[in-house]
Point group: C2
Chain length 303, copies 2
């Protein structure tokens, strides 16, 4: 009987399901809108229904990437901005019982990192820092080909490194976090300040190319802030491969030169020499693939 | 024959030597001033002379903590602000040949972290972040009871995380690094700005206690900056035990309350709940003891 893994990417708006082969191909996938009912029962039902649609051959296990703070070892969502009712919710255990399958749960950004490690831009690279820039920043730190979890699975909240001590308020409750500047939301605030209303990254790239000075300045600042935060991460972690993905990747050419210019102004030259900045490869599939990779790596521990 | 280890703490001004027992007692120690001759040969000679003075029983090996960027695996000092002539200097290999002993080399702050891990404030704690605040900031990240080195041994340069994007110039060439604010040098600049000239930390604590408003404000800011940087480290690393040592420890009571106040304003409450802030235990002996601990852990790899 053919063996498969189910990878799930649970977002704040949609939940994406994929049937994944053991060599990392998505054979089937679909997306379901997450409704307003976000209690434990509703989401568990939504997930188990999605899983049953993909059941075929022998399913080795289910991997779920979820937004928020996840306790990897205890297999629970500690808290999630998108699911405010969830506190220490043992989602993996609950779903595992319901579906009679091993279920592995991790933070969504960690799953993306592991996907890139498996068959993406991080393939064959032992240590790297994965930065996923969308509405906010997600981070995943890969050490020795595994996601580094810290004490409880909270590691990688790199969007909440403070880069401006007296900066803007952040959704996390703090202020001056990297995410307030380097994110699609941050970029939106920046363009608004520069007099451009409601311009999305793709359009901003377009008008910057056409010579719009505010748009060019917005990308310049964005790229520089990105470079400053990367500098801090490299100084702290001593890891020299950095992979950048997420929705912002579509604007890559608009910001990456300023990022590359900013880093050497701040980073030790010994580290700058070793730095490799890469663009993520897996796009929107990274979450599903990474969730599947996690089952491959850890599934046996979570029957 | 009794077994010993020699631990060496090579600083920018002095070099301290210690004969250490296998259970972590310093049986004999002395300090030598490092002269102006800082070429490879002079320092190797100074070190080998110190080592020969401590030779007794069976010496298992020599550990050296050095200031600067150290490539742990390749056993060399990549660069050091205090020894500008050194670039990719294979100190450990050279000294090992000269003394016919295994020699292990690491960054000084990493050695301090390992000392605290062995018999200090980090004893029995699998993961912790060690912050050594002196003239600058040294950092050591302990994961699974070992110093985390990153790709080449550069990890732990936590003093050069950027906390003020447009901040003061830093010795590393960047600007707004944590170290520009949270260090004895940073504190000196801060007090000068507040109208207090040439006040050392100990005296600053004294006059703050007596009610001097500028001194109180200086410590308040210092403590808050410290808290902000700790927040970033916890968010990135997901490690919840933080040990603070170095010369600044003498002012502990003057800043620690403001540090403890700042963190919950910025850090996720799930992390704040788990946070343990500890004062280092080993004082000036941490470097020698950590260097000895490194030989205990790795000496057999570096014959």
């Amino acid at each position: 009987m053919e063996k498969y893994i189910i990878g799930i990417d649970l977002g704040g708006t949609n939940c994406r399901f994929g049937l994944v082969s053991l060599n990392g191909r998505i054979l089937k996938q679909f997306s379901v809108k997450v409704g307003d009912n976000r209690d434990h029962g509703s989401i568990t039902k939504l997930l188990s229904q999605g899983i049953s649609k993909l059941q075929t051959g022998k399913i080795l296990g289910v991997g779920i990437g979820a937004p928020g703070i996840v306790d990897f070892d205890r297999r629970m969502i500690v808290s999630s901005p998108h699911y405010p009712a969830w506190h220490n919710f043992k989602l993996a255990e609950k779903l595992s019982k319901k579906c009679e399958l091993p279920v592995v749960l991790d933070n969504d950004a960690n799953m993306i990192a592991l996907g890139e490690s498996w068959i993406g831009a991080g393939k064959g690279i032992k240590n790297f820092i994965m930065i996923t820039i969308g509405t906010g920043i997600g981070g995943g730190i890969v050490i020795d080909n595994k996601v580094f979890h810290g004490d409880n699975g909270f590691a990688g909240e790199i969007g909440h490194q403070i880069i401006q001590y007296d900066g803007q308020k952040c959704d996390c409750g703090g202020k001056g976090c990297w995410e307030t500047l380097v994110s699609i939301e941050g970029l939106k605030k920046l363009t608004t300040k520069l007099g451009l209303e409601n311009v999305r990254p793709r359009e901003l790239s377009k008008i910057a190319l056409e010579g719009n000075r505010s748009a060019k300045l917005a990308w310049k600042r964005f790229g520089s802030y990105l470079g400053a935060g990367i500098t801090s991460l490299i100084n702290i972690l001593g890891i020299h491969t950095v992979i950048i993905g997420g929705g912002i990747g579509r604007g890559w050419d608009s910001f990456i030169d300023d990022t590359k210019n900013e880093i050497p102004k701040r980073l030790y030259k010994e580290s700058t020499k070793r730095l490799v900045l890469k663009k993520a490869k897996l796009g929107d599939d990274a979450g599903i693939l990474g969730s599947a990779a996690t089952v491959k790596n850890y599934g046996r521990n979570f029957k």
